[in-house]
């Protein structure tokens, strides 16, 4: 227990950890403030204003159409006649249906419709921070000799590494839960003041709670993978380098090559697709090179990635990276 407490203290005391957490919270706060500023509450006044705006644009459009028709009539028998149809009565005339007031409403924050995207934003920012914090926490320990010092005190290698990992994961879990609670509260407030919570039901709240639980899983997995890679390479830079390599090779290189080779569902190699599948429960990828004839016409082949598939891939990645880090730690010479 003393080692766990010391490791938690060490993690929280690190300047890098503090700055990264503050930076992430600042980014999240900027998203929340931006959302609050760009949305507003919808009431009879806003609807009336939008209807007036739609009517203004409709009338303006009718005026322009009439001017065009007159120009068409005037051009008959002149060289400009070719620019107009032979029958000027066939020219476009705007209809009221084209100018529905909904298109002129200021954005409003519908919690049920939009909070899901906000949870994905929360998960992405915290997962990135968790990866870097995890990598830096153990990477700096290795590169500054702190790990060796610690092993002189506690010569149980696996216990030391797993305690460090536990301290990291528990700290990340606390950070994520607290931030998620604040995030939900902030957007409920935004919806209340600048949108609507009306469509929220207990089932919808439960669905968002489960989504936030999956966000927690993603954050913990990212932290564990960052920790594992940096521990394997004994340097923070190795984990960051691995991510850059993954982005360059998989996100750009491999997908470009697969797309050029017209490989089916090349997007399935994109990491964000799997993150989206995990967070949004399903993602469907379509192969537009294929065509399945049906009554509705041509339908492309589809591949649906589900959250259990994404979760399984995530667990395999975590077990592989952390397991290798522990196995290596067990037998490596510490120089």
């Amino acid at each position: 227990m003393s080692l766990y407490k010391a490791e938690t203290r060490r993690l929280v005391k690190r300047r890098f950890t503090r700055w990264l957490v503050i930076g992430s919270l600042f980014a999240l706060a900027a998203v929340a403030v931006g959302t609050a500023v760009t949305n507003s509450k919808v009431g009879p006044e806003q609807i009336a204003a939008a209807q007036a705006e739609a009517e203004r644009y409709y009338q303006e459009s009718v005026r322009y159409a009439e001017q065009d028709r007159l120009r068409c009539e005037a051009a008959k028998g002149t060289p400009e006649a070719g620019q107009y149809p032979a029958d000027c009565g066939q020219m476009y005339t705007p209809s009221r249906e084209d100018y529905g007031y909904q298109g002129y409403m200021t954005p409003t924050f519908d919690f049920r419709e939009e909070f899901g995207n906000m949870v994905v934003t929360l998960a992405a920012i915290l997962a990135l921070a968790a990866f870097v914090i995890g990598a830096s926490y153990v990477g700096a320990e290795w590169s500054t000799g702190g790990m060796m010092n610690l092993l002189l005190w506690r010569p149980k290698r696996l216990q030391v590494l797993t305690t460090k990992l536990l301290a990291l994961l528990v700290s990340l879990a606390v950070l994520t839960v607290l931030t998620a609670v604040a995030w939900t509260g902030a957007f409920a407030l935004i919806a209340n003041l600048r949108g609507s919570l009306d469509s929220m039901t207990s089932g919808a709240w439960q669905s968002f709670a489960l989504m936030e639980l999956r966000a927690l899983g993603l954050v913990l997995a990212a932290g564990a993978i960052g920790f594992g890679i940096a521990s394997l390479g004994r340097h923070t830079a190795l984990a960051l380098g691995a991510v850059v390599g993954l982005l360059v090779v998989f996100q750009f290189g491999l997908v470009t090559v697969l797309s050029m080779a017209e490989v089916k569902f090349a997007e399935a190699w994109l990491l964000p697709i799997w993150v989206m599948a995990w967070m949004s429960k399903t993602v469907t990828i379509e192969d537009f090179n294929s065509c399945n004839y049906s009554a509705d016409g041509c339908r492309p082949d589809q591949l649906t990635l589900t959250w259990p598939m994404a979760g399984g891939a995530m667990v395999v990645a975590v077990v592989l990276v952390v397991g290798t880090a522990l196995w290596t730690m067990r037998s490596r010479d510490i120089t």
Partner: protein, 331 residues
């Protein structure tokens, strides 16, 4: 006396694409309780590998080791709380203060935090304890490293180059500290290249070269084993040294070497015989001094690392001990 540290036949081999390198090749070492023991060897001889292996950081390929009567690395966790160690250059997280660094170690090791204040005082860092380690000089980091090793109030203290980077005052303080610790019952193993210091503060030494022990025992014994029988002879000014050397050889001196302004005579049982022999030729001796041997000259001789004019010695060019010099468990 009880042996606090015993190493027998320790072997460590590194394999790489360039081939196999034997860092430790059947190394033996014994340190008795309450001693300050010097652990000497040229660069790359296996000192740090030995210490790392002993402390469980490196896995050996063979041999046996015991610390405080318990075989290691198997029982290392049982005795780790009684071993304080610094290995090679001190390394700490640069953005933490000395106080934070030590209190985190104290927490991890279950040591009372009051001890942090005590050791900071002991190594002279009390007034700089709140500064970040990155602002420390090498000598101050060295003091912090010693403080971290002392934090556990260990029975066995292992210090690798503790005087590295210390100013002359610091070296003297470190010497006094080592002696005081030994007097309080702590056993100190000291690895250093400052051989004058080792000779001053150590009770016993082990010298390693090319992964093998080349000498071991009390400092006095090691010096006595390699005591030179050479005598430096100076005569009155104006006397032909070549003729004097010839006269000594004729009289029966086994070895006479002609130096710039004196003679070095070896193999003579009684130095007084030289005065008698030269007096026969009316040559009067102005200085007759047996050449004292020190740890540095013994070290250079045993490890084969004495500089040779016109040659650039490479780090791996050291003398290895013949197999007969190797000792077993408890020797």
């Amino acid at each position: 006396m009880t042996a606090v540290l015993e190493i027998s036949g320790l072997a460590k081999t590194y394999r790489s694409r360039k081939g196999v390198r034997r860092a430790l090749d059947g190394f033996d070492m014994v340190v008795e309780a309450g001693q300050v023991h010097g652990f000497l060897g040229p660069n790359g001889s296996g000192k740090t590998t030995t210490l790392r292996t002993l402390l469980g950081l490196i896995k050996p390929n063979g041999g046996r080791m015991a610390v405080l009567g318990r075989e290691v690395p198997r029982h290392l966790p049982e005795v780790a709380g009684q071993i304080g160690a610094i290995v090679e250059s001190p390394q700490f997280f640069p953005h933490f203060t000395a106080r934070d660094t030590l209190s985190l170690l104290a927490d991890a090791g279950g040591v009372d935090r009051h001890r942090v204040v005590e050791v900071l005082e002991l190594v002279g860092l009390r007034d700089r304890a709140g500064d970040r380690v990155k602002t420390y000089s090498l000598g101050m980091k060295q003091r912090l490293a010693v403080a971290s090793a002392l934090l556990k109030n260990p029975r066995l203290l292992i210090l690798d180059e503790p005087a590295n980077g210390l100013d002359p005052g610091g070296i003297r303080e470190m010497r006094t500290l080592m002696r005081n610790l030994a007097e309080s019952g702590m056993t100190v193993v000291l690895s250093s290249h400052i051989l004058g210091e080792i000779q001053l503060i150590c009770d016993s030494v082990t010298i390693i070269s090319a992964g093998r022990r080349v000498a071991a025992g009390s400092v006095a014994d090691v010096l006595a084993q390699h005591k030179s029988s050479s005598v430096r002879v100076r005569v009155e000014a104006g006397v032909d040294l070549l003729a004097v050397a010839q006269a000594l050889r004729t009289a029966g001196a086994p070895t006479v070497e002609l130096e710039q302004d004196y003679l070095m005579v070896s193999g003579v049982d009684r130095p007084a015989w030289i005065t008698w022999a030269l007096a026969q030729h009316n040559v009067w001796v102005s200085e007759l001094a047996p050449v004292e041997v020190d740890l540095e000259s013994v070290f250079l001789q045993l490890t084969g690392t004495a500089p040779v004019a016109g040659e650039n010695r490479q780090v791996d060019q050291t003398a290895a001990a013949p197999a007969a010099l190797q000792g077993g468990w408890g020797q």
